[in-house]
């Protein structure tokens, strides 16, 4: 089994290297394409970048060289990065492979391989260079009406100022000698600043967890890589820094990160992805968690690696997944107390434990093979219900969950039922989803009086090789209506019924015991709980969107659950670093809650999200633990 684990890890590492190699090889591949994206080098006395319009404006001693041997100088320049064209004006000097020429203005429409030029020979003229042929200009050819127009920027302020820039056509721009702007005020000087505007999202894939606020400085990059420092804030780590390195190509990407960089609890993340064709994807994730001051010897270290291969067949897709987790990579450490007594300190887990306490060396491995059908029927005009079916098998093994160092004996397993400890558990599942995407009700002539009905039912049963099965049924339906352009509402009902069933009553009682404390009348429903729960949620949502920069949503919910929620009986699920619950449904949800959610634009490039939930004095719970506040660009 150890050999298997090492082979699996080696496979994951090989995949990472393959993805890295694929990313690194992308540049020559791009260069070999029929219409290569050129790289432009620009310098000027002052370059202003308008992020909200993807415009670059340069003034004073403008000099731009293109990848096809063209050098243009002039007094001013404007470049539309999205439309991939630039224009230089004022005392233009054109230096091409076929000679030099002065003129009044030059515009390069790079997507069309057209260069429009107003030369001044004995008199002005109009020349058009086609497909990079600077030897034979087309004379007098009519030009597009806006060829030499300057954009109106009277209502815009630049995002940054710079002295030079490298522009990767259609992909990125990297500025040098930068000063960031906020409004009309110059703020932070930076040596470089990189911006991507590629239509390929691979380079923007990330491996960081969420944060309430993230200011990213992409200080280096090109078509295939970005290096970035993140200054972040979240409610767990407070303010901290993180580092992320991206590599990407058309078919693969690789992201490495260290987050938080400036806290003792560090996560080293690697995400790799490779899509050799449109039907196949190989995805991997590896993470090391350490507790270490700076980069000193870690006091704790855990690891997880996951590899997933997905392939689409005709009518269904299949996924093969492998995951290995090591909850302790460091083992034990000998320490002596002042009396000289040897104490063995466990280096992983929630804290150091002493001699005699079980040591967690859990290292489960999971293999799973999953199948999922495509939606059918494809065209549901006559039959407004669509169906999906899924099934799979999995296998999990953990040779030793805990060990007692004194006797070197495993003391726990994946699951213990009766006298049997199971270190290997297999499972198989079958499930189906039925849903009616949208059924119109009422007056179809008037959008604001029409109702939409949606419904979905999802059911799945999982059988385990231990005498145990889990059934999960989830049904939901909603009725919605638009009252005006800015106000809409919906009423939704959802029922979830998860249940764990054991073949032996003794096994069931082991997991869901009848405890004397439940004899309290407050716990009457939990006393009857034997692993099958029913969670009903009735929700009313109201959306108010007067304009795109202001959104206010209210969601009011009523939960009617079995077992009945009793304050203090069920713990709240853990919250993530943003302060939001990590689980969407759980036992003991407060019977009533109302969530307000506000999003508005606070600065030119920033949106502020604020949300919080009120629980109507459920026990001591009035409000959700904290506001969920997030600033995004």
């Amino acid at each position: 089994m150890t050999l298997l684990r090492h082979l699996s890890t080696a496979f994951a590492i090989a995949l990472l290297l393959a993805a890295s190699a694929a990313a690194a090889s992308a540049a020559p591949a791009a260069a070999a394409s029929p219409v290569p994206h050129r790289t432009l080098h620009l310098s000027a006395d002052r370059i202003a970048f308008y992020y909200d319009r993807f415009l670059g404006e340069a003034d004073g001693h403008v000099r731009i060289t293109t990848g096809d041997g063209l050098t243009v100088t002039g007094a001013t320049m404007t470049m539309d990065l999205k439309n991939n064209r630039f224009m230089v004006a004022g005392g233009v000097h054109l230096d091409s492979p076929n000679g030099v020429q002065d003129g009044a203005a030059l515009a390069d429409f790079m997507d069309f391989n057209r260069v429009y030029f107003v030369p001044i020979t004995s008199e002005p003229d109009r020349w058009t260079f086609v497909d990079g042929d600077y030897t034979h200009p087309l004379l007098g050819r009519e030009m597009p009406g806006d060829t030499f127009a300057f954009p109106d920027l009277s209502k815009n302020v630049p995002y940054l100022l710079a002295g030079k820039a490298v522009i990767g056509e259609r992909d990125f721009v990297r500025f040098g000698n930068v000063v960031m702007m906020e409004g009309k005020v110059q703020t932070i000087p930076l040596p470089t600043y990189y911006v991507t505007f590629s239509s390929d999202p691979h380079l923007s894939e990330n491996s960081l967890a969420g944060a309430n606020y993230d200011a990213t400085w992409q200080f280096a990059g090109n078509r295939n890589s970005i290096s970035a420092v993140h200054l972040r804030y979240d409610q767990t780590n407070k303010a901290y820094a993180a580092f992320e390195q991206h590599f990407a190509s058309k078919k693969a990407y690789l992201v490495l990160s260290l987050n938080p960089l400036t806290r003792a609890s560090k996560f080293y993340n690697v995400v790799g992805d490779y899509q050799p064709d449109e039907r196949t994807e190989l995805h991997t994730f590896t993470q090391f968690h350490t507790y270490q001051n700076g980069f000193s010897l870690p006091q704790q270290e855990q690891h997880v690696t996951s590899v997933r291969l997905i392939h689409g067949f005709n009518g269904f897709s299949a996924s093969l997944t492998y995951q290995t987790v090591n909850y302790c990579l460091l083992g034990t450490q000998d320490k002596y107390d002042p009396s000289g007594t040897l104490r063995v300190v466990q280096a992983c887990g929630t804290g150091a434990s002493l001699v005699g306490e079980p040591l967690s060396i859990s290292h489960p491995q999971t293999w799973s093979l999953d199948f999922s059908s495509l939606e059918f029927p494809k065209h549901a005009a006559a039959f407004p219900v669509k169906v999906r079916v899924n099934a799979g098998i999995s296998y999990i093994h953990d040779g030793c969950g805990f060990v007692d160092p004194r006797v070197d004996k495993c003391t726990a397993a994946l699951q213990v039922l009766g006298d049997t400890a199971y270190t290997t558990i297999g499972s198989k599942y079958v499930g189906a989803t039925l849903f009616a995407p949208s059924i119109k009700i009422g007056n179809r002539e008037n959008t604001y009086t029409m109702y939409y009905f949606n419904a979905a039912l999802d059911a799945q049963t999982t059988w385990y090789t231990v005498p145990h099965r889990v059934v999960q049924i989830n049904g939901k339906a909603s009725l919605s209506r638009d009252f005006s352009r800015s106000v809409s509402s919906y009423l939704s009902a959802e029922v979830q019924q998860p249940g764990a069933f054991y073949h032996q009553a003794s096994d069931e009682q082991q997991l869901y015991p009848v405890n004397p404390v439940y004899q309290d009348p407050n716990f009457s429903s939990f006393q009857a709980f034997r692993g099958s729960s029913t969670q009903r949620t009735l929700a009313l949502g109201i959306n108010f969107t007067p304009n795109p920069d202001f959104v206010f949503n209210v969601l009011a919910r009523k939960h009617t659950d079995f077992p009945i929620a009793v304050p203090g009986l069920f713990s709240l699920p853990p919250v993530n670093v943003l302060g939001a619950f990590t689980s969407n449904s759980f036992l003991g949800e407060p019977p009533y809650d109302v969530t307000g959610d506000l999003r508005m634009r606070v600065l030119r490039h920033y949106y502020l999200d604020i949300s919080r939930t009120y629980y109507f004095n459920f026990g001591t719970l009035k409000w959700s633990p904290s506001f969920v506040i997030q600033v995004s660009q």
Binding site: G210, E281, Y327, A456, D609
Partner: protein, 279 residues
């Protein structure tokens, strides 16, 4: 039809009348325009046209009317005075945009060019329904309200937020937040200029929860080109999310997976940690 024929004719007639009156009045034509360049005895407007400037033509400040030492340059605005022969006899400069004055089309006949104008086949409009020539379509740039309505998979949590991520926002996974309109649909309306073209994907707030295609594979971004219409409704289907697709959820950054738990309840109280309600 009659009115549409009449208006251009009327406008052309009015422009001609103004031109004739202006020329007849003092033989001068005045137009305002933004400058592209001024050199070698020529002034160039952003139309790309170059005009001969008379020797010793005064350069004035537009606001004060006084002679200025500033040299006309790119991005400047100017009111140019043409004589009857098409020679620029005076330039009044301004650093701020000037109100339109005169008819630029009427002075094109004065533009100096060595070569006669030749028709450009690139500029022939391409029919809207023509394929493979999207980039050559002509758009007015008029504002168009575009509504995105997306059907999400049934696995989408009721408390989920849905966003649109686009190449216009450097693939920020929370670029455009959508509003839930029922159990399976979200919507947002944004105004774009016609001709706007961008790529986009739907996410649940992070790239690890972005949409995947029907095979569970990361999908190619969708593309939209905003046409010249009154309003546009764009309906999309999200087949599945990356973290709920076939194969189940993958580990997320900054969270070691929880140990194997045979119970389908994330917060089931364990017998050892039962509350003491009545001590």
């Amino acid at each position: 039809m009659k009115a549409s024929m009449k208006n251009p004719l009327m406008r052309a007639f009015a422009a001609l009348l103004i031109l004739v009156i202006a020329v007849a009045a003092d033989g001068q034509i005045k137009v305002t325009a933004q400058l592209l360049d001024y050199e070698k005895g020529y002034v160039f407007f952003t139309s790309g046209d170059g005009f001969k400037v008379a020797p010793n033509a005064p350069i004035l400040d537009y606001k004060t009317g006084a002679v200025t030492t500033a040299s006309p340059g790119p991005r400047d605005w100017a009111r140019a005075t043409f004589d009857a022969t098409g020679l620029v006899t005076q330039l009044e400069l301004s650093k701020t945009p000037l109100a339109p004055e005169g008819d630029l089309a009427s002075i094109r006949r004065f533009a100096v060019a060595l070569s006669p104008t030749v028709a450009n086949p690139d500029l022939v409009p391409v029919p809207v329904d023509a394929t493979g020539a999207e980039a050559r379509r002509h758009f007015t740039g008029a504002p168009v309200p575009v509504s995105f309505i997306v059907r999400v998979p049934p696995s989408t949590p009721l408390t989920a937020s849905i966003y649109i991520t686009t190449d216009q926002s450097a693939w920020n996974p929370e670029a455009i937040r959508m509003d839930r309109i029922d159990a399976l649909h979200f919507r947002i309306t944004r105004i774009f200029a016609s001709g706007t073209r961008f790529k986009y994907l739907y996410t649940r707030g992070s790239l690890s929860t972005q949409e995947v295609d029907e095979r569970g594979i990361q999908r190619v971004p969708r593309t939209i080109v905003v046409p010249d219409v009154q309003t546009l409704a764009r309906g999309d289907d999200v087949y599945e999310w990356a973290d709920t697709a076939v194969g189940g959820a993958q580990p997320q950054p900054d969270s070691i997976p929880t140990p194997y738990n045979p119970a389908p309840f994330p917060n089931l109280p364990s017998p050892g940690s039962l509350p003491t309600i009545h001590p």
